[in-house]
Structure formats: structure tokens, C-alpha cells
Subunit: 448 residues, 2 copies
Amino acid sequence: MKRAGRGVRRALTEALREAVRSGRLTPGTRLPSSRRLAAELGVARNTMAAAYGDLVAEGWLTARAGSGTLVTDTMLTWPALARAAAEPSGELRYDLIPGSPDLTAFPRAAWLKATRRALTAAPDDAFGYGDPRGRSELRAALADHLAQARGVHTSPDHILICAGVSHGLQILGEVLAGRRARSVAVEPYAPDRYRGLLAAASLETLPLPWDPHGTDPVPPEGTDAVLLTPAHQFPLGTTLQRDRRTAVVDWARRTGGLVLDDDYDGEFQFDHQSVGALQGLAPDCVVYLGTASNTLAPGLRLAWMALPPALAEEAVAAKGQIDSCEVLSQLTMAEFITSGAYGRHLRAARRRYRDRRDSLVTALARHAPKVQVTGTSAGLHTVLSLPSGAEQGVLQSAARQGLRVAGLSRYRHARSRHAMPDALVVGYGTPSDAVWPQALSALMGILS
Amino acid sequence: MKRAGRGVRRALTEALREAVRSGRLTPGTRLPSSRRLAAELGVARNTMAAAYGDLVAEGWLTARAGSGTLVTDTMLTWPALARAAAEPSGELRYDLIPGSPDLTAFPRAAWLKATRRALTAAPDDAFGYGDPRGRSELRAALADHLAQARGVHTSPDHILICAGVSHGLQILGEVLAGRRARSVAVEPYAPDRYRGLLAAASLETLPLPWDPHGTDPVPPEGTDAVLLTPAHQFPLGTTLQRDRRTAVVDWARRTGGLVLDDDYDGEFQFDHQSVGALQGLAPDCVVYLGTASNTLAPGLRLAWMALPPALAEEAVAAKGQIDSCEVLSQLTMAEFITSGAYGRHLRAARRRYRDRRDSLVTALARHAPKVQVTGTSAGLHTVLSLPSGAEQGVLQSAARQGLRVAGLSRYRHARSRHAMPDALVVGYGTPSDAVWPQALSALMGILS
């Protein structure tokens, strides 16, 4: 039996994985371009590109600006893995890698209380194979909460529960590929992992332009969709301005394109009047993506999409015939929201993270006045600009002190024409309240 | 950009889905063979076959013995969907479709107690992005429990938590395809869904032969793997005999093939000395698959695989870089097992289902002495033989009475040479204790 393209792609990814595992390809090694390697191996170029995409999605490879595709330096990859990998060495003192809230602040007592109520109230059929969209109680609670908190216009019927934003993007990648979409415009700086998930669905990612006001979100003609973090751009920290919101919605209406509104940090806006979700402007052509990973804990594996009605059925089909998400956490989350506990938790979390950001700004003004904080006052991370060429040196010096931070350059789309100045991305949400002052002081030690 | 094979496959599946959704293809319609349709559309045959496989996996199509591939009659598909579809009509009185335990018996109080302990004891990092294999507490608890209860030889390092046996088979399908496997031998009668999941990974499923002792499990030369339910064959209810266990393990050792031991109903053996898992005979070439879906509740989305050490890394990679399973249910399940609550729950459940089976056998002897119960005394379902040609009539008569049962023929592999006599598959585990006597009496009304 002749192997189809998919078999070739699998064989390629496996061969590359094996090469990394065995150490034949060492971390940091630069791979040939997918075009060149495809020519050498006599396989189709898009199959090779898809294989690279799979491996980026899985974290084996990293697409890096200017240097093409590299074997991932595991110390600087997906935060959880990086942390797990660091445990045995015992050298990590402070973790400021963005992407996780303060896990010591998980509201255990309130969550247990909500679990008790949810377990008591659940109808028997809740324990069975569920509606593939997720539990109706949670979809109803979210429709209300998101309308109030984020200006999202949706109905419980068009909400799809998923196991994380990555899972949501995987589903949307399948939906887009099923509609014969070919390309998705993305922000020039964004997590590698998201680009990889889209590439794994055979979608090309096109970097959007960037100017001092932030991302110019209107994609080139012929693009099928655009993925944005309008509330608080990850990692650059800007908020998408009003005229640009209108412009990207106009683009979607004009071309039939789809906007993916990843409402990253949408619940954590500190100083200014909270900006609502882009989805509220055009629920018929914007998908809203939200998650409990940043507001509560990644371990809950709870995220949600509000879908344009015309897309809902395809997205449910792509999720699969049975609900793959655990039901009790869904029922507990529904109870947590409707009882008001989620609102209280969010207010406390907003205070916690605003205080941390404030203390970071104050400390910098005193100890490192040349380092600028960029982006709006929001979220769990911020960007600290560095002198040109300083990024690698600062990262190395931080590593020697047992302080883990991310450099901005690792988030750059390999084909972006825009290169931001050197900078650190500091996740001030990750440490506990007890550890944060010491982590901050260690960071000042490196920057001052 | 030319579309790769995968794009063609997506376009084909979407076109067929749309035809079903729009009603152009009505339930029960027979589709042309994948070979013929591929020729007509000018696409590769294996792409067409993979598209059919996808749609069988998703439940849109059904592969049926003798009649090729049909548009699924939703009334007789995946139990959850069948039930959900039936709710609005209000006509369903008794549900005896196999595939679900008695959901009213979920041990809510004991589960809440375990949740409280788990939430109190959890380290902070449990709430983060976890080990892709699943929580270590649960893997350790399972390694002990499975050794004692099922004779499984494994270590926590080689256990992989997944969100159901379907998720496990999806992972194994990817692993096999990554190793360039082409075919998996399967039992001649088995859930369509499992065949579909393997087909979606471009694996051909080959039906094994059947004789009065049950499945002959030794696959033809050149087969890469074999999927079996050795403890209690689903749906036929036989237990794989000792000499055949040895024979299939010998095959695996001789050829390097893989045995997938789906320990369906392994915890529910009633009369005889409990037969251990096949995996215990050869942990180096058998994958063990177990689940809480039948012992506790499908809504937990908790299942587990014990993997041959040589396979573990590939399976973890196929699962993905982050744990997609909710963490609190994992920690709660670990606590539920180690506290002894799971053992108590299993003993009570065993009594419940044994009593139901006994009452069914007694009622048949009295009211329908010609109907024979086949299979060993185990599990949540049994097979009732019917006079030749009676199956469809009995199903229709059951439906008129608001009684839902499955016919045996729907589980047959389309290419199996063996056709079992007409029979019903009765899931006596599904109703509540309160409803069971009435459901039993309604069943007798149809059979007598």
C-alpha cells in the first residue's frame, strides 16, 4: 500500500523527533529550510512544512526570527515543561516566565464549596457521556458572565467548552482547513505554540505589520482568518485601538474572513476603563476565546469559545462526538460563576497583579531608571526594554542567578519584517505573594 | 498552493458531512464503495477510504456487514448521542443500550470526601500545566491497584492518563502510524467507533476469525497490531481462553507486533475466578487500556494505559506537550483508590450488576425459555440469541414500546466472514435500581 502525504509527514516528524531524542540534533541546532530539506528528501514542500509545523506545535522545534528553525532549547520553551525540567537541578530560585498565574492563590476553599453544591445539584445524566459542546449549566453561566464582564454577545447554544485555548485553536484549525482555508494572519510577536498549532492544520501563518500603536490587524487580501490578542497583546502588552478594531471587523465583513479574538488577560485590566472583547462588535464573524487558565489555574483545563452561529456546528464536529472535558469541573465552574465566587476571586486577583505591576514599576524607577516598561497596565506580564544587543547577556546573567525570564525575541514570527528592540518579558503573575519581593529584588540586581 | 492529500481528505469529509446535514443523504442511504467513489472523483483511493474512516469515527457513517457504508441511523449510534437525540421526543421509557453504568449509583458523597482530601493535600504546582503523562499520584495509585486487581505489571512511569479509551486508541493510532504500521486486527464484532478511530489514523482494520470458543486472536502474518477485549468481549461476552492468550502473546513476541488489551469489564467478573489482564503475560508487548467510564462514570473522562516501556515516549508525544486531562479529578481518583473507597465501590457495583444479570436469566427462563443467554457471567451487558431473521422485528417492536436495545448485527465488521445468528445486546447496567424491574418486564413482554 502506497503511503499518502499524511504518512510521509508522520514518518518525517518521527525521524526528526528521534534525531532530537537521541542527541544527534542538539538544542540550538539550525535546521535547513523546509524547502531545501524537502528538495533533498524528494518530498512535497508543504508536507515538509507541515512536519516542521507539527514539531513546533509539540515543542521540539522553535521558529526563530532571522535564524530559521532551531531545535528547541528546552530551558526556554513552554513554561510548564521548562519548570518541570528545572525541578531536579534545584537551581531555579525565581520563575518569571510568563504564562501562569500565582498557583498558590488558587481559591481551594471556595472551589471545594462550589464542588459540593455542584455534586449535590447535578442531575444523574451529568455523569454520562455529555453534550459535545460541554455542560449546559456552564455554557449558560458563561454566556451571562461574558456579556457582563467582556461585552460578549452570544447564547449558550453557540458556546463550546474546550480543554484550553490550544485545544480551541486546534478545533478552529480543523474548521478552517475543512473550509479550505490556507492562511491565517497572526501578530508578529506571539507564542510559537499557536503558530505551530495552525501549521499542524496545514495553515500558513502570515505575520501582520507593527507600528508604534501596536499591531495593524487588517490582513492582506486573500487571507482567510486573523488571530489577535486585542485586550492585552501577548507578549507586547498593547491594547488594540478603537479604529483598528473597527477596521479588522470591516475586513471580516467585506471578505468573509474570520477574526479569532483570543481575549488574553481580558479580565485583568487595571488602570483604564476596561476595554470589552472585540467579539462584541461583530458576533457573526468573530470567534471569542477565553480560559480559566490565567484567572484560576491551568490544571482545570477549562476554556471556552463563543462561536459565530454559522460556525458552531462545524466546530462541534471538529471537537468530536463526545465531550472530552471532565464534567465535574464544568459544573463546579458554573456554580463558581453563578454564586458570585468567581467575581470575588477576579477582583482579588486583579488587586494582586496590579500591586505586583506597580511594585515592579516603582522598583525600576529607583534601581534601573533606563529600563522602560512598555504596554498598558494590565495582565500578568510586562515588557522591559533593554539596550540594543543586551537581551542574550541579560538572560544568561539571570540564569546564573537562578532567575528565569523570557527574552522578547523568542516570540518573533520568523518571517516578520519588524524586529522589536531587545527586551525582557517578565511574568510577574507566576511567583507567590511570599516570593515576589525576593524575585523582584533579584531582577533588579540584574537590571541595575 | 496545491492542496496536499490531507486537504483533499478534509474537503471530502466536509462535503459528505454537509450532504448528511442538509438531508441530501438520508439516514440508511448506502454509499458507493470508497474505491468506486474515489475513481469517480479522481482522488486517491486511500484518501477516500481515510475520509470514510473519519466519518465513521465521527458517527456520520456506519460500516455495516453485507451492505457496505451507510449514512448512520442516529437512533442506533453512539449511546450518548442516541440518548440525547431521544430526550426531546419523550418516548424513551427504558434504555438498555449497552455502554454506560447506572449513573444514579455514582458515589457522590464518597467522591466529595475524596475531593476535599485531594484539594487539601495537593501541592501548589498541581494546579499548573502538568506532566503530559498525568498526575504522578494517580499513576502511582493505578500501578498498585491494577497489579492487585488485574495482574497488570507496570510502573507509574509507563502509565499514561487519557480522557477515555477512545482518546487512548487515538493516541495509539498515532503511535502506530508514526511507526509506519498499516493494519490492526480487530474482533469481528466490536464498536464501530473503535474501527473508525483506527481508520482515521490511516490504519486498515482486519476482522479476526471466530469459532464457538470465541475470537481466534492470532492475526495474519504482516499485521502490525491486534485490538482485543480479552476479559469480556464486547459485545459477544466471551472470555479469551488461556491457550489463545498464550498464542497471541507468542505472535507478538515472534513478529514484534503489538497487542492492545482493552480490559473492558475486567473489574466486573461475577461467578468464576477473576481472569487477570492479558498484559500481565507480556508487559513488553501488550498495552493495557482501562477506564473509570464503566466503573464510575463516563463524565469523569478518566482512562489509563499501561504501556510497554519502549512505547511510552512515543505515546506521550502523541498525547501532546501538556496534560489535556483535568487535574482535580485525577487527584480525587488517586485519593479514591488509595483510601479504599474505590475497592468498596467496585464490590457494591459487582453485586448490583450480578444481581441484575441473575434476574434477567431467571426472567428469561420463566417468560422466554427459547431465548438463550450467551457469554460468561460478567460485565454490564449480555447477548440474547433470537430466532433467525427476528432481530429487526424485535428491535422495531422494542422501539414501539419505548424500550431501546441494540441488535448484534450493528457491531459486525463489514468484512468479517463470520455472521453470528440474530441476537439482542442488552445493557442491563444502564437503568437505575428503581427502573430496572420495569425495564426487565418490558423486555420480557417483547421476547415472550
